[in-house]
């Protein structure tokens, strides 16, 4: 009986082993075709293999730099939206709102995280991208119809609850005595929050931001629909950029032979993504855990 139960938890291990094995194995095959240095340092990404093998550029160029910068650019925009909105929402909910408001607003914000990401992607295409294009035209800027800004903004909206929930938990965990100590000295509430409560809650808040970042980096549907396919190496948010996840999807959808460098590249990108998000998660969990112990 207990052995049967144990197999259940063994599956969890098997999944991880499966992920690591499949990613590592295919990446290994990829690196036999494309050298690691090209993958990590070449600033050009053009996986379009030619039809005839004797054509120029027959093998494609697999430099992940434009994908990484694109991913980071969009994630940065997302965090620039989610961090202030999420943090200020959490502050208001934890420190100002009465319990009734809190009971209504908190789940409402969490709805944002429950909406499927494909819906956000459609929202970006339907509303945000045209809005930005028209707004850009009005301001005399040319905004690409698939801009990093549109994808980043919408991804930011999606990530708000990841920031606000963890920040709220962290703020609430700060002992009341610290807040009262500051208020008793004649602090205004905002002074107590800014100078005492937030510094005390900072580890928890940082953990939340890291989780949000990891979420943004691994997000797929929003960028597939709202960001582009063009691997531009740019930091201009008005231009189209592509991301690691977008390229994984493009390389693997449609019918392809499985052994080409193109399809294998998707697994190398997947491994990169897995490692980066894993590191972010481990750090975030470590920080949050340490922080909880501090006030327990």
């Amino acid at each position: 009986m207990v052995a049967a139960l144990f197999t259940g938890s063994l599956v969890a291990i098997l999944v991880t082993v499966g992920i690591v094995l499949s990613l590592v194995f295919e990446t290994f095959r990829f690196l036999q075709i494309v050298p690691l240095t090209e993958f990590l340092f070449n600033p050009q990404w053009s996986p379009q293999t030619a039809i005839r093998t004797d054509q120029v550029g027959a093998s494609g160029v697999f430099g992940a730099i434009p994908l990484i910068t694109g991913t980071l650019l969009i994630s940065a925009i997302a965090l620039a939206v989610a961090a202030p909105i999420g943090l200020f929402s959490a502050i208001y909910l934890a420190e100002y709102a009465n319990s009734k408001t809190r009971a209504v607003v908190k789940p409402t914000l969490e709805l944002l995280a429950g909406i499927p990401t494909v819906v956000y992607g459609f929202f970006a295409v339907l509303i945000i991208a045209p809005l930005l294009r028209d707004g850009g035209a009005w301001a005399g800027l040319s905004v690409s119809s698939e801009s990093a800004l549109a994808a980043g903004l919408v991804m930011g909206i999606m990530t708000i609850p990841f920031v606000s929930s963890t920040a709220d938990d962290a703020l609430i965990a700060v002992p009341l005595s610290l807040k009262e100590g500051a208020l008793a000295l004649g602090s205004t509430r905002s002074e107590a929050i800014r100078q005492i409560i937030i510094p005390a809650a900072l580890p928890g808040i940082t953990g939340g931001l890291l989780l949000a970042a990891s979420r943004a980096i691994g997000e797929t549907m929003i960028v597939v629909m709202a960001a582009g396919l063009a691997a531009n190496l740019t930091l201009n948010p008005l231009e189209a950029v592509t991301t690691v996840t977008v390229q994984i999807v493009t390389l693997l959808t449609g019918d392809q032979e499985f052994d080409s460098a193109k399809t294998l590249a998707a697994f190398a990108l997947g491994l990169l993504l897995f490692i980066v998000t894993l590191i972010l998660n481990v750090i975030a969990q470590h920080i949050v855990k340490k922080y909880r112990e501090q006030y327990d």
């Binding site: 610290l178 100590g181 208020l183 100078q195 510094p199």
Partner: protein, 309 residues
């Protein structure tokens, strides 16, 4: 005031038998009665039916009248009328849950933090109602400092803890002035010698007694007129406690102090005035000597003798 006849201030021989038996069960009360009868010069006048002392009360700094406090549907305080005299230590005693902390928190409006709390009646600081519409809570709390039950140093350095209040209120114009405020406050709190070499160490690295003195230094750095202390020694060991008690005794010359304590010995040691709270009511108030030696109310007597509490 009928109960006054029960109070054994008369020579034992004159007491009715029942009262005598009652008194004998309570040696503590008897002892202290004798002591007061020996020591106080006006012991004759204290036999009058309404023993309201006028002798030792100085200028009244704070005054509450008919104070009622509700938490949601439950009433925590009933019609409390109490005066806080200047440059004295007023101790609030009573069994736990009696409302003494709630009362203390009314004096600097700390109860405002709690949503469900409703305060009625008047609390005056020198003739001005602190719950009045024009009163700025921030300014009020700068004038009335508070020290809490558990030492609560901020997660900052010792220096920054003390400098926090002066900084937010802008009390120092220069770095030197701020330095001197911090030094003075630490000295006044009798902490300076222990921490002068490590002012940048975190406040939380100090021992419990030191932390509490840091909190006192932090409170007096704002130069308040009144300091409220909510069981300031309850989380400390006896040695640290006696240090804090001595400090409180020092501070009363410069500040008016209101202190909640659950320890009657502490109230007797450091306070000049005592108010006894019981189930949200102010049962008795008077000079500490008087309340401890000659309580008017049987509930006070029961508490002091250890029968309840």
């Amino acid at each position: 005031m009928d109960c006054m006849t029960m109070t054994p201030t008369k020579p034992l021989s004159e007491l009715p038998l029942a009262a005598l038996q009652f008194a004998q069960q309570k040696p503590f009360v008897l002892q202290s009665t004798e002591r007061e009868a020996d020591m106080t010069t006006d012991s004759v006048s204290s036999r009058s039916p309404a023993p309201v002392e006028v002798t030792s009360v100085g200028r009244i700094r704070m005054q509450t009248s008919d104070l009622n406090v509700h938490y949601g549907d439950t009433q925590a305080l009933h019609d409390i009328s109490l005066e806080i005299p200047e440059n004295q230590v007023t101790a609030l005693i009573g069994p736990s849950g009696c409302g003494k902390s709630t009362y203390l928190r009314c004096l600097n409006r700390m109860n405002d933090v709690i949503d469900s709390c409703r305060v009625e009646g008047s609390v005056k600081l020198d003739d001005a109602d602190i719950y009045g519409p024009e009163v700025d809570v921030v300014e009020l709390r700068a004038r009335i400092g508070m020290v809490f039950q558990k030492p609560n140093p901020f997660p900052k350095s010792i220096y920054d803890n003390v400098a926090y209040g002066p900084r937010i209120h802008g009390l120092a114009d220069s770095r030197e002035e701020l330095d001197s405020i911090v030094m003075e406050s630490l000295e006044q709190a009798r902490l300076f010698d222990e921490v002068k070499d490590r002012l940048q160490a975190p406040g939380t690295s100090l021992s419990g007694g030191q932390q509490q003195r840091l909190c006192i230094a932090r409170a007096i750095a704002v130069k308040p007129e009144i300091i409220l202390m909510d069981e300031p020694c309850s989380a400390l060991d006896p040695i640290a406690t006696s240090g804090i008690e001595a400090l409180i005794d020092d501070l009363k010359d410069a500040y008016t102090i209101v202190m909640v304590t659950h320890s009657m010995q502490q109230a007797a040691r450091v306070s000049q005035r005592t108010a006894y709270f019981h189930m949200g009511q102010l049962v008795e108030t008077g000079s500490t000597d008087k309340v401890f030696s000659d309580p008017r109310d049987p509930r006070t007597r029961d508490y002091i003798s250890g029968r309840i509490g």
